[in-house]
């Protein structure tokens, strides 16, 4: 059984079919990239997978459970228990320190534990920046805090929306390296991006176009390492 399965999922905003009968399967431990041009339905798909939004029709099976018809409250619980979110805009709470931002996630999930949160920051290499505020951190550092926040509750799926969109190359590499580590540890990763470099590192890439799955590519020589395309 797949960890996540979308069956004939559609999302319709008025006339616009943001997602049009999409079928996707994600296996446990898989590293999947979702690509596509603007307006192809990437964000909509991310919102639906992340239990942030509901599909107009279709089934979404998470751990064999259909979450498409769940109540608002149930969706909140699913987000809390099973999904770790990483955003392009980072979305850190500006008045909380790095470690507190990580603890925030624990707080809603179960019980905040500063030691554990510090360990998570250590994993993303930010142990010494734990007491800094988001405004004192660089973009890459902020994104790493986001990663730490996403992984702290051991979610079934880590869902990243353009995680490198606001980052320079060096930071991009650091974040991708973190993803590789997570993948090695067995975490399921879904990365929505339109950066081919970031997509290429994944095991499998799904390309969306006009709300439909356009095509799918499997990365034959998967290493999890980023290959920079150097312009001659």
């Amino acid at each position: 059984m797949s960890l996540l399965e979308l069956k004939n999922v559609s999302k319709i905003y008025g006339e616009l079919h943001a997602l049009d009968h999409v079928n996707i399967k994600v296996e446990k431990g898989e590293w999947l990239a979702i690509m596509g041009p603007s307006g192809s339905g990437k964000s909509t798909m991310m919102n639906i997978i992340g239990a942030l939004d509901r599909a107009t029709e279709g089934e979404i099976l998470l751990d064999g459970e259909d979450i498409a018809k769940k109540s608002e409250k149930a969706l909140t619980n699913i987000r809390r228990d099973k999904i770790g979110l990483i955003f392009q805009q980072f979305h850190l709470v500006s008045y909380l320190t790095a470690v507190e931002n990580v603890m925030l996630s624990q707080y809603y999930h179960s019980v905040p534990d500063e030691k554990e949160a510090l360990e998570a920051l250590e994993r993303v290499g930010l142990k010494d920046r734990a007491k800094h505020y988001p405004s004192q951190l660089s973009g890459g550092e902020q994104q790493r805090v986001c990663v730490a926040r996403a992984l702290i509750n051991y979610p079934e799926i880590i869902l990243a929306d353009e995680p490198t969109g606001n980052l320079d190359e060096a930071n991009e590499e650091i974040v991708v390296e973190l993803f590789r580590k997570l993948h090695q540890e067995g975490t399921t990763l879904i990365v929505v991006t339109h950066n081919p470099e970031v997509a290429e590192v994944a095991q499998r890439t799904i390309v969306l176009r006009n709300g439909k799955v356009d095509h799918e590519t499997i990365n034959e020589n998967f290493t999890g390492k980023i290959k920079h395309i150097t312009l001659m």
Binding site: N47, D53, R79, S105, Y107, Y108, V111, P112, E114, D161
Partner: protein, 385 residues
């Protein structure tokens, strides 16, 4: 770490680290609370303060003997029945007809210091008599005898013939010399009397001091006065205490109006201030819609988000209420010192009430924007730039 500790840590962080925004909110709440406590203090203290002012209308209760004259004892026991903080003055009067230049004039003897308190509207051109042998004459008398402050006069008194019926006996008139210290101008019939100390009149007449009437100036409503009068009538024999209706009734009317004026003003000001606090809090919370969205995305339930923001609101409200109630007391004090020249009495119960009111208003003000914010779709918030 316990969940509650994190909760407290988050709230303190939000309050302390978003300093400028929180100060704005705190300022608004503190001002609101200050106006609340200030006006309520003034409102509750105004009757007391104004009542003192209204004592400028003079005596509002008089004590007379049911038969004959009042004794010093009667007066003392009546005074003992009046709460000392309410008693502005008590002036017992004794009237005797004396003669000046062989023409009869009514002489009033009293405790002149108290008379000054019970009749603050008396205008004296010159000084009040202070020593023995000094006399104050009414403007009418002064005109008749062409008297001025500093002039001397002689009063004579014809004692009643002895009770032994020996009417043939020539009784020598008593006499005493006085220096006029001041001319009394009241616009009333007091202008036709002369005023001297009790001792001087006793000396002049050779009769022990008794009184025809005792004037009281007591601060309080006519209902309070009625209670006092009944108490005196009930427990002191042979006297009758009556209210001076003209003064008490009119005071009730005017004071009632003034108090309802202050009350209405207080209500209007308060209502507007509360709305101001509410709009400010709405603005402060509305700013954080995005943060609310994030928390929802992280899996926070609506209840916990409302709980956190309300927590902040309550802390802000309490702090603002505390600051405000202190500021309000200072405000009220300043107003009281300026208007009534007397300090205001601190009402300790007002502090918790103000804090509570501030908390309730702030909480309610936070509730509106939070309610609308938690209902939004987390996805929409996160997508927006």
């Amino acid at each position: 770490m316990k969940k509650r500790q994190m909760y407290i840590r988050m709230i303190t962080a939000s309050l302390l680290r978003r300093r400028s925004r929180m100060l704005i909110a705190l300022l608004a709440i503190a001002i609101g609370a200050a106006i609340l406590s200030g006006l309520v203090t003034i409102y509750t203290d105004v009757p007391r303060q104004l009542s003192m002012q209204f004592r400028s209308y003079g005596a509002n209760m008089i004590l007379t003997a049911q038969e004959g004259q009042l004794t010093q004892e009667d007066v003392d026991s009546a005074i003992a029945l009046i709460p000392s903080d309410k008693l502005v003055g008590a002036a017992p009067y004794r009237y005797e007809t004396v003669r000046i230049n062989d023409r009869p004039v009514l002489a009033a003897a009293t405790d002149l210091e108290s008379a000054e308190k019970t009749s603050p509207f008396w205008k004296v051109d010159g000084e009040w008599p202070a020593a023995s042998g000094e006399i104050m004459v009414g403007a009418g008398v002064a005109e008749t005898y062409n008297l001025k402050a500093g002039k001397k006069l002689t009063c004579t008194f014809a004692p009643e013939t002895g009770s032994d019926g020996n009417e043939d006996e020539v009784v020598m008139d008593n006499y005493k010399d006085f220096t006029v210290t001041g001319i009394l101008d009241t616009g009333g019939n007091e202008e036709d009397y002369v005023y001297m100390s009790r001792e001087d009149l006793a000396e002049l007449t050779g009769i022990e001091t008794t009184y025809s009437v005792c004037e009281f100036s007591i601060s309080g409503t006519s209902d309070e006065l009625k209670v006092i009068a009944e108490k005196i009538n009930g427990s002191v024999d042979g006297v009758s205490a009556r209210l001076v209706k003209r003064v008490t009734q009119s005071e009730d009317t005017v004071l009632g109006k003034l108090q309802s004026l202050v009350l209405l003003v207080t209500i209007v000001v308060l209502a507007l201030t509360m709305i101001c606090v509410a709009t400010t809090m709405t603005a402060v919370v509305a700013e954080r819609r995005k943060e609310i969205g994030l928390r929802k995305a992280l899996g926070a339930s609506n209840r916990s988000i409302v709980g956190e923001f309300m927590g902040e609101g309550v802390v802000l409200g309490a702090a603002g209420g505390l600051i405000g109630s202190l500021l309000g007391f200072i405000f009220a004090q300043v107003i009281s010192m300026n208007v009534f020249n007397s300090s205001i009495s601190l009402m300790p119960w007002l502090i918790p009430v103000t804090i509570l009111a501030a908390v309730v208003v702030t909480g309610a003000a936070c509730m509106i924007p939070i309610r609308s914010a938690v209902d939004i779709d987390p996805a929409l918030v996160l997508k927006g730039e």
